[in-house]
Chain length 374, copies 2
């Protein structure tokens, strides 16, 4: 490609920039790709570390560029003047940037005479098609996720039922206690988790409610765990739903429907299939089983989130398997996470991660699906 | 203010949006402030949780807005069409957005006829002036930081010297082992740390090198710890430099100069003072003591980063105490972190956090400064 690509961001929070450089820095720096040649413009603080660590062709001191701009008569040169200075020898007029590129810098570049063209994700096409190495990294994070989830399941299984509450070792078993133990366990495996969902009963009817307080017997508890490896920066994502005690017939039926929803996706997912069709097939199946989706009594109920999303250097990245049109390709890693949520019954969600293969999909998740814990 | 303010971001990664709403979500949503009235446009997935948790005046379903747009004849309405729909009754033509506002959405809003004006940070003026509650939150994170640092200092002190290496309980003491223990300790206090710097010898000459391998005796080890509270989302930031064994006379002199640099800042910092002058005074003091800054032998050496930065919901936020002009005001929380880095000697950095008071500044850090650990 003969495009000139520009990113200005902090790679600790911008996955595209980390993907392109494999270099982590907390403050914004400049990535310029001209005729396929990658270069970074770095502050005095980062220039030496970038030179030794970044997977780019060249690292340039921004201080040198600012000095050159000053010599040209720019009074108080900025990062944009430094970019301008770096571009001068190349007669570039058009810059392709990510859709998230900061507006203030874009307007400044436009005032400098550049055409600045934002691109929808994926900014790097290759980022959605995972390499073997990336799949291995995601799978490794998934194995840690499963070990952490096993700790939770063991503790919920071990709990005793007092009244309608779960107690363990003489204390009420809370979402908070389990979350802390989970996060410490994951960190012991170099994985960072935040806001893991351990939500029982009505709380789980809100799919992003993380859960608080004492967990209850005979009610579904949703576990949704999505840590990032501190070593590789790749995420994993898994959900399970468990009941300590006896699930109601309604919850059992919901669980069976959600499991069936996953199976529909596993059968349909392959290169060329539109994620929208997969999502619709699950919605149709739920409707057939009598599980309607919509606003009832002023609350969204049923299945009101997407079926899945890409996972990689971000927890939510392209493609989507949802109401949006998005065609699957070999090498994409997506979640399959149908759920059903009804006031009075609670929430049920099951989530695996699959990689799209040439002939279908392969499940990267090995954790068993068991609703009832004795 | 009669401005209309707009943010479209994920509050888990956008501190302005979290500041305005105290609501955490992993995917982008819309914040609109019209005549001081705050409203959120939320997806079906988040609308109920936002209604119960966000500190705003109104939460609107984006699905309802998209339906209204469709009724008006928009074929495939987007988030920008939903914003347009929400703005229609208010006859707004100008939108004030953060400097980081995504270019792709801004261009789309401009095509819809809006003037979109990016604003430099601070987007919310009040965010740089910390309330008592915010100072308490930062201080609490700082206390956890100090407890974690104490664990590191204890282990380095306890280590024995074998050859030039530090060993503890029969094993080499590495940056990695200490980092893992630190992060587990901090997580036990609900604080999340990543990439904490535990860097010895030459490694610390690169101030953002996190450090790897066996730590050495008689060499300075830089500890730079900056966790975020998972509960309050407020950061803290502290650095200490220690030597197990005997520091060289050069390192002792560097340490004394850096300490003196901090004292210069503590004396100068007060409302109305320009951070640039504080930074320059430290550079001057270093020069006077014979510690030059610049590129020597192809590497930046001396004092080549800023003296300090604001700390709050972001680890690096306004104001800066650096070569950039920035005037201090009562209620700002900034770090004071001069450092000296020379090949052959290693790195020395000391960092405290202070709050600017009406008459000067108050140190929020209580951890002792001791170079030599016996």
């Amino acid at each position: 490609m003969n495009e000139t690509r520009l990113i200005i961001a902090a790679s600790e929070t911008d996955a595209n920039l980390y993907y392109a450089t494999r270099f982590l820095a907390p403050d914004p720096f400049v990535y310029l790709e001209i005729n396929g040649r990658k270069r970074l413009l770095m502050s005095d603080l980062e220039v030496d570390r970038a030179t030794s660590q970044a997977t780019v062709d060249e690292v340039v001191s921004i201080t040198h560029l600012l000095t050159a701009a000053r010599r040209r008569g720019v009074a108080n040169p900025t990062m944009v003047d430094a970019v301008d200075e770096a571009l001068k020898p190349h007669r570039v007029t058009r810059l392709v940037v990510p859709g998230t590129f900061p507006l203030m810098l874009a307007d400044d570049l436009r005032r400098h005479g550049y055409e600045v063209a934002p691109t929808a994700e994926p900014f790097f096409e290759s980022r959605v098609l995972k390499s073997e190495q990336e799949i291995a990294a995601i799978t490794a994070t998934q194995r840690a996720t499963e070990a952490g989830t096993q700790v939770l399941v063991n503790m919920i299984r071990e709990a005793e039922i007092r009244g309608d509450e779960l107690w363990l070792r003489g204390r009420p078993l809370t979402s908070e206690v389990l979350r802390k133990l989970l996060h410490l366990t994951l960190l012991g495996m170099e994985c960072i988790a935040q806001r893991s969902i351990i939500a029982g009963g009505e709380q789980a009817c809100d799919p992003h409610q993380i859960g608080t307080g004492v967990l209850k017997a005979h009610q579904p508890i949703v576990l949704d765990i999505f840590p990032q490896s501190a070593a590789t920066r790749y995420f994993a994502d898994m959900s399970r739903t468990v009941v300590k005690g006896r699930p109601s017939p309604r919850v059992q039926k919901m669980y069976a429907a959600v499991r069936q929803g996953q199976e529909i996706a596993f059968r349909m997912l392959k290169p060329g299939v539109n994620g929208r069709d997969v999502h619709q097939a699950i919605l149709d199946s739920f409707e057939q089983e009598g599980f309607k989706t919509g606003e009832f009594g002023g609350r969204m109920q049923g299945f009101f989130h997407g079926t899945g999303h890409g996972v990689g250097l971000e927890i939510h990245e392209p493609p989507r398997v949802s109401a949006t049109s998005d065609v699957l390709q070999t090498g994409m890693v997506v979640t399959v996470e149908p759920g059903l949520y009804y006031l009075g019954a609670g929430g049920v969600r099951l989530e695996d991660m699959v990689v799209i293969t040439e002939t279908g999909c392969r499940n990267l998740t090995t954790f068993p699906k068991v609703l009832e814990l004795d």
